[in-house]
Structures are given as C-alpha cells and as structure tokens.
C-alpha cells in the first residue's frame, strides 16, 4: 500500500474547515478528528476499490543479444486476470546499466485484457544485463491510496563487445589480398606456398623463373606464390588484474577484445584457423574450431561475460594451455600488459617455452597519456611527471627488449591504434611466411 500526492493534498485541505468552524480549541479538535476520519475512510474505500496488482500476469519478449552502443526494445505483456479495471503505473526493474532510462509506464488494463509496455534499452556496459521483477502500482478510483505488488518476471540480455575496430577490416583485407598471387620477390620464406605458374612479364624477379616449366613451353614461365594457408593462430587474452586498468577511458581488456576480434576476422578471411582463449588462473572463455561467421559470433558471445579478475595471471600454466589447443607450430598472440620489469617476470619466464615451438607476438596497450606527459615540461610538477612518464616508458622499452631477446615480437600502441597495429603485424608475418 502506498499513498499518493493527492491524499497528502486532501489531508492538508483539512486546514480550511478547521479554521472556518473551529473557533475554540474543543470544536477545532473535533473538526480535526472528523476530517481525519473522513480522509481515512475515503482512503480505505479507495484502496478497497483498487484493482489487485497480484492478478496481473507478465510475459516478456526480449532479443537474446545486443551489441554495446546499440538499442533494443524490451517488450512486456501485462494481462489483467482480475475482475476490476487496473489503472496504474508499472516499473520494469532493469539493472541501471541496461540503459532503460525512465522505466515507469502508465497503463490502463480493463479486466481480462492485455497491454504491451515496451522500453528501449541502450545498455552502456558489456556483459549480461538482467531484470528480475516488475512492480505494479494500482490506483484506486479516487487516486488516494495505491495497491502495489512486485511480480517475478526474470529476463536477461547479453551485451556483446562493440567491435569498433571492424572499420579497419576492409583495408586490411585488401592488403591481405595483395599478398595473394604476388610473385615472391624478397619476402620468399620457408613457409610460403607454391601457387601456380604464369608467363613472365617485365618486372618480375628473374629469380622466380621456373626453368623446367620454361623448357616445357616456349614462353618464360615464373612461379607465383600465395600466402600460406591453414596455419594456426592462438589468441591468448590475459584477464588478470592488470587488464582492469583503464587507458583512454577503456579497460585494457576491452582493447584486447577489439584487437583479438579484428585479428580473428582477418585471420578467418586469410584462411587460417583461430583459437581464442581468455585466461588468468582459470579459463574464462574459449573458442575452438569455429570458422567464418560462427567464429566471430562465438567469440563476442564468450567475451561478453568476461570481466577483469582481480587476481594475478598464472603464466606458468600458459604453455600447457597453448599445448592443449595445438601441438603444431602456431602464431601465439598474447594480449597482456607490458609494464615494469617486476610485473612482467612471469611472462618473461614462460616465453622461451612458447618461442621454442611457436611464433609469439606480445601485444600491449601503451598509455598515450604517458607519452604526452613525457613531452610536457611546463613547470616543476610537470617536469616530475615527465620524469615519471619517461621512467615508465623506459620500463616498457626494457621489458620489450627482453621479450625480443627471448625471440618473441612486441606490439605496443595506444588503445585506438592497437587493433590495426596487431593486424598489420599479422599481415607482415604472413607475408614473410613466418606463420
């Protein structure tokens, strides 16, 4: 039971009769008591005549998924199974981050009928957004007192990572296509695969002339090469405590999602097999053996529920995890943070095991604020900030150098630049035949 503003107003109106008729204290008190009696009798009558909110049944229609930043419509069907006409307000109790905005809707449902209450949800956080209950507040005919009940109507919607980096995909696919059918000029490596023979045109490298084929035919034939296919790419995501840090108002983890999605999209276009693993001390998400459109949808689906865990990454378990995915040579992309030397010892200690078998790329977000701070030398405080920033950059440079000495590759860039930079590195490795 709740009161309405109208009831409060009616109660306050009692001042008028009390002042008009209550000349001495006893009469005034009598008028007050009478007025209170009247008001409460009216309120009780109103409450008794209000439709029961318990007689409402709720059905919910929800899309299963939505990409972060996009809007969906949540539909709530309310059926009044009671005998009275229900006039009231309905609150669909979505979590705040579901972005339902003002989630109170006025409804009028005659007995036995059904009404739709639709809300536009614009979630502003990744993950699973839930709703558990619907509260119905039923107004009496006078609008003085309300009946209120909370009904269980669970629903959930999965908010997928936005994949803003997909804008970089067309240009990278174009560059990938350029590799195709190109004669092996300087980039001929051990892994590059023979594609076909064609006639020599001016400008081709004479070293790629296939003399045997030339002998069979009258023309000079050259061999063409295509990028190797059906290689394995393992994307390993560090979801430990360092992934919670915010760079450029985006958690490191979300940047890593963007980068791995772009890489996976590019890789599946290039014909390589991608396996995705999110790991800290446990496996938080794993996508294996998918390809094409299913790959990306499975990846975003598993990513949606991954949150940074406030525990230290278990680097010692990483080689075992990679071995469980593939025993062949693969490109292992480790998306983590390259920070101070102390924080990176775990990574550095297991890198030799990985590099012995695989090609390893370590990708990390570099804070653009640090780079800016290193160049700003305005006053005393700024110089100390610049010194601290320079120290941080030197730490990153030292750890990067150590990683390179262990035979792995390092990609660091600002959050916006990391996904295309990683894609470029993949293309470069593919062109060099190092996959």
């Amino acid at each position: 039971m709740t009161l309405s503003g109208r009831f409060v107003l009616l109660l306050a109106l009692g001042v008028v009769p009390i002042v008009l008729f209550g000349l001495d204290p006893v009469t005034a008190t009598g008028v007050l008591v009478l007025w209170l009696l009247l008001v409460f009798v009216l309120g009780g009558l109103d409450l008794a005549l209000a439709a029961s909110p318990r007689a409402v049944t709720v059905e919910r229609m929800l899309p299963a998924r939505v990409r972060l930043g996009e809007s969906v419509t949540s539909e709530l069907y309310l059926t009044n199974t009671g005998r009275r006409r229900l006039v009231g307000v309905v609150r669909d109790a979505w979590q705040p981050s579901a972005g339902a905005g003002r989630n109170r809707s006025r409804v009028v449902i005659p007995s036995g009928e059904r009404r739709l209450v639709s809300l536009t949800l614009t979630p502003f956080r990744r993950g699973e957004r839930r709703v558990e209950q619907v509260t119905v507040r039923s107004r009496g005919p006078l609008g003085l007192w309300n009946r209120q009940a909370t009904l269980n109507a669970p629903g959930r919607i999965r908010v997928l990572p936005p994949f803003h980096a997909r804008k970089h995909l067309p240009s990278r696919i174009t560059r990938l296509k350029e590799l195709d059918g190109r004669t092996s000029v300087m980039v001929r490596g051990p892994g590059t695969e023979f594609d076909s023979l064609r006639e020599y045109v001016r400008g081709d490298d004479v070293r790629s002339i296939d003399w045997r084929a030339t002998a069979r035919r009258n023309d000079v034939m050259v061999r063409t090469w295509r990028p190797e296919r059906d290689r394995r790419v393992v994307i390993l995501l560090d979801t430990g405590r360092t992934s919670a840090a915010r760079v450029d108002n985006e958690p490191r983890l979300d940047t890593a999602f963007e980068a791995s999605l772009l890489l996976a999209a590019l890789t599946s276009v290039a014909g390589d097999r991608v396996d995705f693993l999110a790991f800290d001390r446990r496996v938080r998400g794993r996508v294996q053996g998918a390809s094409g459109a299913a790959l990306l949808s499975q990846m975003v689906d598993s990513m949606a529920l991954i949150e940074p865990e406030l525990i230290e990454m278990d680097w010692a378990a990483v080689p075992g995890q990679v071995r469980s995915i593939t025993s062949q040579h693969a490109l292992v992309v480790v998306l983590t943070s390259v920070d101070a030397a102390g924080a990176s010892t775990g990574l550095l200690s297991v890198l030799p095991q990985l590099t012995k078998r695989h090609t390893v790329v370590v990708a990390s977000v570099l804070d653009p604020a640090t780079v800016l701070a290193a160049a700003a030398r305005g006053g005393r405080d700024e110089i100390y900030r610049a010194a601290a920033a320079e120290r941080a950059l030197l730490d990153v440079a030292r750890v990067s150098a150590a990683i390179r000495r262990l035979g792995a590759d390092v990609v660091t860039a600002s959050p916006a630049q990391l996904p295309p930079a990683l894609a470029d590195r993949y293309i470069a490795l593919k062109a060099a035949g190092r996959l």
């Binding site: 007050l32 059905e59 909370t150 653009p368």
Partner: protein, 442 residues
C-alpha cells in the same frame, strides 16, 4: 508478435497461448498482508506481551502517581494523604478536594472543616485572612510565617522538637484521644505564661513549644488548629502513635471537609494576556494536522516502487595512477637528480636513434655524434646529457629545457637537406619532437 501497443481483447487463456515462450501464472514477490502477519507473528506477540507486562507492572506499582503532591487527598504515595481521606469518607464525612480558594468558597458550608496545606506559599495575606473566617474549624498543616501572621500573629516558630515523647497534656479532646504523636517534628511556640486566653497548646516539647496549637478566632469564634509537622498526616506516618486519632479528631467532627491544597490558580493575575490566550482556538489542531501532513508526505515520497536492483560494478583503475604516484613521490622528496636521470636516459635513447646509432650505442658515441650534428661543443653536450647536477628546481627546469632544445636541434640537424653543424644552436621555437607513439621494431 507485433510491437504495436495493441489492445487485444482475448480471454486470458488465449493470451497465454499467443505469446511464444510465455510463462503462465506469474509469481508474486510481495508477501500478502496475511503472510506478512504470519511471518512476523512472533514479534507481534512478543511486543504485545511486553506491553501487557509493562502495563500490569505500572498498575501494580502505582508508579504513575508516585510523584503526586504531598498530602494530596488522591495521592497513594507515602507522602500523600489518601489513607486519611478514605478513612474519613468511610466514616461518612463528605470530603471535597479543592485546588483554589474559589472552590473552597463554593464548597464550604456552615458546619464545614477546612484543611489547608500551602506547601509553596501561594496564598497571600488577604486570602489567608478570608480563609480563616470562612469555616467554623480550620486545620492548617505546616503554617509558614505569612500564615501565622494572618491567622495567629502571636504564635511563633519553635524549632524541631527534641523531646522523645510527645504527650497530649491539654484540654483539646482530639489531642487527648491521640495521647501521643510521632516525635521529632517541627513545633510552634506561644507566648509564655499562658496568659493568652485564645491559645491552647498541646503535645509540649518544652515549656513554650507545642506540636499542636489551637487558636480561637476572636471575631467569628471559629477554631483554627495549627499542626506544624506535615509528616503526621501522610500515608507513611498516619498509623504511627496517635497520629490517626489526632487527624480524625481534628477533621472528623463535622459532616463536610474541604481538603484544600492551594495551586497556581490562587496567584493573582498580573501583566498582559499570555500568548496562549491570544492565539485562536484552531491553531493547535492546525499544527497537529500539518504535522500529520508532513508525515503523510514523507510516506508518499519515501515509498519505494519495488525493491532496489543490485548490480555488480566493474573495478576500474586508471592506468596512469602509478605514473602520477611516482611523479608525486619525486616531487615530495625533491629527487631532482633521479628525475633528471630518467629524462636524460630517455633523451639519450631518442638521440641515439636520431643520429642513427641504435638503442644500444655507447654514451660517448652518442655525445660525439650529437655534437657533430648540432655543432655544439662535446663538453656542452656532455654537461646537458650527463654532467650537470641540478641544485635547485630552477636548475632542474633549465636542464630539462636544455635537453629538449638539444633533441630539437638534433632533429633539425639530421633532417635530410641540412648539413651537419649548419644550424648550430638554433632557437627552440619549432615543434616538439614527435612522441614515440608506436614503439615497434623496424
């Protein structure tokens, strides 16, 4: 399922079938009033029990009247006098409890006795004189100076009785029946020699001090009994010695007794009318109503529209926190050399790359190469890159600026088309060296 806000008039049974995946029979989370009562029945019963016990305890102890007025006829506390008044009523005496002189005036008859106990001295001289003339017999308990002045000017105070036994020893019949009183109370003194014909003293403690003095009013002939010890008539002591006999003897003979304890109502009214008299009668009820309105408004606004929704929020830490913290540590401890070292190492690495020596080049090589490109003296370059030690913040800033100028000059000098040493000591006015946004292997 269309998304229009349709008003379908299907029967409920059809509706359930129409929606795919619909759950029939929604469960209600809010408990009904009955369930709420059933759930909280223990507490309701417990509260009722506690309330009942408290009420019974109060009734049994009579605690609500414990703080009543002394010698009040309706006070059951040890200091009250209800015992005496009730006994008098049982004996057929009509006892009227009065709290103002007007009430006494209205209640008193020709054969009435008036009992007066003016603990707080509310009555003034004229009122006391009038009271003395009202009734045939007046009993004044614990008279103060003003009372004595008005009713029996010749009687004075006698101090506390030091006698162990207070025997009647006089001609008053009530005193003789009482025989003895509780010792140790206040006394009154009458002029020595017993020459005064209208005064009678009983229960003597000394030659002139008595615990009961009767005065005959010389104009009306009424008798005024002065009892200086107020303890004699209270519930606690009434049954001791002959206290009860004295009280009944003094108060009982007439058919009606006016039990008068003066109150504030007896004080004469002075000054302007009070605020309460000036305010209209409806003010208090309106205030009560407004209070109720405030409570109702609070309930209206505070009522929650269903339970709160919980949500786990992610932990977010700014990545630059450690950098900022380190900068503040440098600043607080004035670690100028350490800060400058960091700047220098960074600058040397960038310079080494700029002049084409690679990251691992020796410092002396870098100094020589930079001096060669910029046309500056090697010692000067060495001073900026290694040598100078900042003694103050000003020097630190100067050295930092010099580092930037050197980087800038080197950047200008190694740009294609500029000969080495051609632009020696250029002014620092150009743009800053590009920040190393992407540190990737070449």
């Amino acid at each position: 399922m269309s998304a229009t806000l349709g008003s379908q008039t299907d029967a409920p049974a059809h509706v359930g079938g129409a929606a795919a995946g619909a759950v029939g029979g929604t469960t209600v989370a809010t408990p009904t009033l009955r369930a709420l009562l059933a759930r909280s029945s223990f507490w309701v019963i417990a509260a009722a029990c506690i309330l009942a016990v408290a009420i019974v305890a109060v009734l049994v102890s009579g605690g609500s009247q414990a703080a009543g007025r002394a010698l009040a006829g309706d006070n059951v506390a040890p200091t009250g006098s209800m015992a005496l008044v009730e006994v008098l009523r049982q004996q057929g005496v009509t006892v009227t409890l009065a709290s103002s002189l007007a009430e006494v005036r209205a209640a008193v008859g020709t054969d009435s006795t008036v009992f007066l106990y003016d603990e707080n001295s509310y009555l003034d001289q004229t009122q006391l004189s009038e009271l003395g003339d009202l009734a045939a017999h007046t009993v004044v308990v614990a008279p103060d100076f003003l009372t004595l002045q008005a009713l029996a000017p010749t009687v004075g105070f006698g101090g506390v009785s030091e006698s162990d036994i207070l025997a009647a020893d006089c001609s008053v019949p009530a005193a003789n029946r009482a025989e003895a009183l509780s010792p140790g109370g206040d006394t009154l003194s009458i002029p020595s020699g017993s020459a005064h014909p209208l005064l009678t003293g009983c229960f003597a403690s000394g030659t002139t001090t008595f615990s009961l003095v009767q005065v005959q009013n010389d104009t009306t002939g009424g008798i005024i009994s002065l009892v200086p010890d107020a303890r004699l008539f209270n519930n606690e002591n009434i049954a001791d010695y002959g206290n009860a006999a004295l009280a009944l003897g003094l108060l009982g003979p007439s058919d009606s007794l006016v039990w008068y304890l003066p109150t504030l109502a007896d004080l004469p009214r002075t000054g302007p009318p009070s605020l309460a008299e000036l305010t209209p009668g409806w003010v208090t009820p309106v205030l009560v109503l407004l209070m109720l309105v405030a409570v109702a408004a609070a309930i209206w606004r505070a009522a929650r529209f269903g339970p709160l929704v919980a949500e786990n929020l992610p932990v977010t830490v700014k990545a630059s926190e450690t950098m900022e913290g380190r900068a503040r540590l440098y600043a607080r401890s004035n670690a100028r050399l350490r800060a400058l070292d960091a700047l220098r190492v960074g600058a040397v690495q960038r310079l080494a790359l700029a002049v084409g020596l690679g990251r691992l080049a020796h410092l002396e090589e870098v100094i020589g190469s930079v001096a060669h490109f910029t046309g500056r003296a090697p010692d000067e370059v060495r001073r900026v890159l290694v040598g100078a030690i900042p003694e103050s913040d000003a020097q630190l800033m100067a050295l930092s600026d010099a580092l930037q100028a050197l980087e800038h000059a080197t950047g200008q000098a190694v740009r294609p088309g500029s000969a080495p040493a051609a632009r020696a000591s250029t002014s620092v006015s150009g743009e800053l060296p590009p920040p190393p946004a992407e540190r990737m292997d070449p």
